[in-house]
């Protein structure tokens, strides 16, 4: 244990890249989106016990070794995105622990924090600052990001004048500009036009080759078998199965077919 948690971190040759132990993430249903004081008062008066907590993830444990690529699959609302958010440090675990060794980068769900009034170039700097990339590094990568995004002279125009395709390209170029040790991917692979999609897939593959570990969340089962050497099925916040990609994909498809049939017979 002590030897594994070496001081050199990413440089330590031993130990898994990611180690998750008994991870649980709890959402407090009293404090949710678009809350108002009125709702809170009403809830406090009613004291409905049912509206207390919701576990988005519970008792999730797994490790990802160096060189491994793990696919996380499961139905909508299973907790896949919450898992990636926890790994990226955006959400703190309510219980358990996450041990991450190495520089991590993640392409999470769609939607980025571009400022509409700033130019493309300024948005690259802003994004870099949000991500905590230091100034010298982002300045060095500026030209390659601009070149990859292929935005031409618009790079100095305000982002609000961009087409959605241009925004997508710029976002992707920023997101993939730094070579990480650990790559978190969440269904961002199919975006933009055909040409850019091919280009972005190449880039993701390139990053994947360079990365020491990958976690991929997707609904596209082709990606699972193409990319990953291991898969994990999550349902309702719990790990259902873990193993060879083909087996897990088959299990997932069986279970979702059963769920559909159950829903149909319940409806009929």
């Amino acid at each position: 244990m002590i030897a594994r948690r070496g001081r050199e971190g990413a440089l330590t040759p031993t130990g898994p890249a990611i180690e998750v132990e008994g991870l649980g993430v709890r959402y407090n249903l009293r404090l949710t989106r678009k809350n108002t004081i009125r709702n809170s008062l009403a809830q406090a008066i009613r004291r409905d016990g049912a509206g207390g907590h919701f576990w988005a993830l519970r008792e999730v444990s797994f490790t990802v070794d160096r060189g491994e690529s793990l696919a996380v699959i499961g139905p909508n609302g299973a907790g896949k995105s919450t898992l990636l958010q926890s790994l990226a440090g955006i959400i703190e675990p309510s219980e358990g622990r996450i041990d991450v060794r190495g520089r991590m980068s993640s392409l999470l769900t769609l939607g980025a924090g571009f400022d509409q009034e700033l130019s493309g170039r300024e948005n690259i700097l802003l994004a870099g600052a949000f991500l905590g990339i230091d100034d010298g590094e982002i300045q060095r990568r500026l030209e390659s990001i601009i070149a990859f995004a292929d935005i031409g002279q618009f790079i100095d125009a305000a982002i609000k004048t961009y087409s959605s395709g241009m925004r997508a390209r710029l976002g992707f170029a920023i997101a993939t500009s730094v070579e990480p040790d650990i790559l978190l991917l969440d269904e961002v692979l199919a975006t933009g036009d055909q040409v850019f999609r091919a280009k972005s897939k190449d880039r993701v593959l390139e990053l994947a080759r360079g990365a020491k570990a990958i976690i991929l969340v997707t609904h596209d089962m082709n990606w699972v078998s193409e990319f990953c050497n291991r898969a994990m099925l999550i349902e309702k916040g719990r790990v259902v199965a873990e193993g060879q990609p083909e087996d897990i994909v088959r299990l997932h498809e069986e279970r979702s077919r059963e769920a559909r049939e159950r829903a149909l017979s319940a409806a009929g």
Partner: protein, 303 residues
Amino acid sequence: MGGATAAGSVLPFAPMSRSSLTVPVVRTSAARPGPVGLLAQAASDVWSRRRLIRYLVSADLKRKGRDTIFGNIWWVLDPLLQMVVYVILLTVIFSRPEEDYPLFLFAAILPWKWFSSSVGDAISSVSGQDRVIKQVQFPKIVLPVAATLAGITQFAFGFIPLTGLLVLFYSDRISPWLILIPVVAVVQLVFTLAFCLTVSALNVFFRDISNLSIHALRMWFYMSPVLYGASVIDKMSGSHRVIADLIRLNPFYSILTAYRALIYEGKAPDWFALGAILGVSLVFLLFGTWFFKKTEPMFAKVL
């Protein structure tokens, strides 16, 4: 968790925390640092992300200068026009103004506008950035800090019309005391920052804070000596003692009276009162910072 469903949405950034660069990062559900630890963390957050704060401030200023013919000239015109409205209202309709009423008024409107617009911007600074918060791991405290700092620029622009007024119409009121305006401004900034940190965190959990704030700020404006002077409150002490005492407890009583002493009366402000407000504001700032850091881990879940 919305976000992903928004139409025409944009591709992601890559969250990558600088801290995870070389050192292994362990995140657990174990107890978070105590109050002192949280305050130290806040200080290092702000310092290590000062470049992000700078970008956010300049983005904010750019946003405010857009889409209007005059752009940033509005920062000069706004307080002047507001002053004109109140001068007309109080001299013509109520006909009981102080001597040199425009300057009397302007000396208080300028700092008040700074406070109220900073609060207005800061309230939504965190809840308005929900998409970034859910996708990138960064210290959220930079958001209200940047919103508060951006307000300083608008305040600074207000010195252009102030200088104009003094030189053109009230040159006899120019005094060396004007140099001390920044001292009062620092006291106000500490108070404003403390207030902004607190309300920006609260607004994540209760969105009605921003609705409420409009009315609370208007009430606060009338309860502060902007349109009237401290002498009016002294007279009130006889009839409505409680209200008069409440107005004097209001930090803006001392802050605005101090500005007015320097700009309008050309004399020393009440240093004791100003020092007391500074002390209270510093304590409030510690509280606001602690409160923000304490609630910060919940932001990504609630938004």
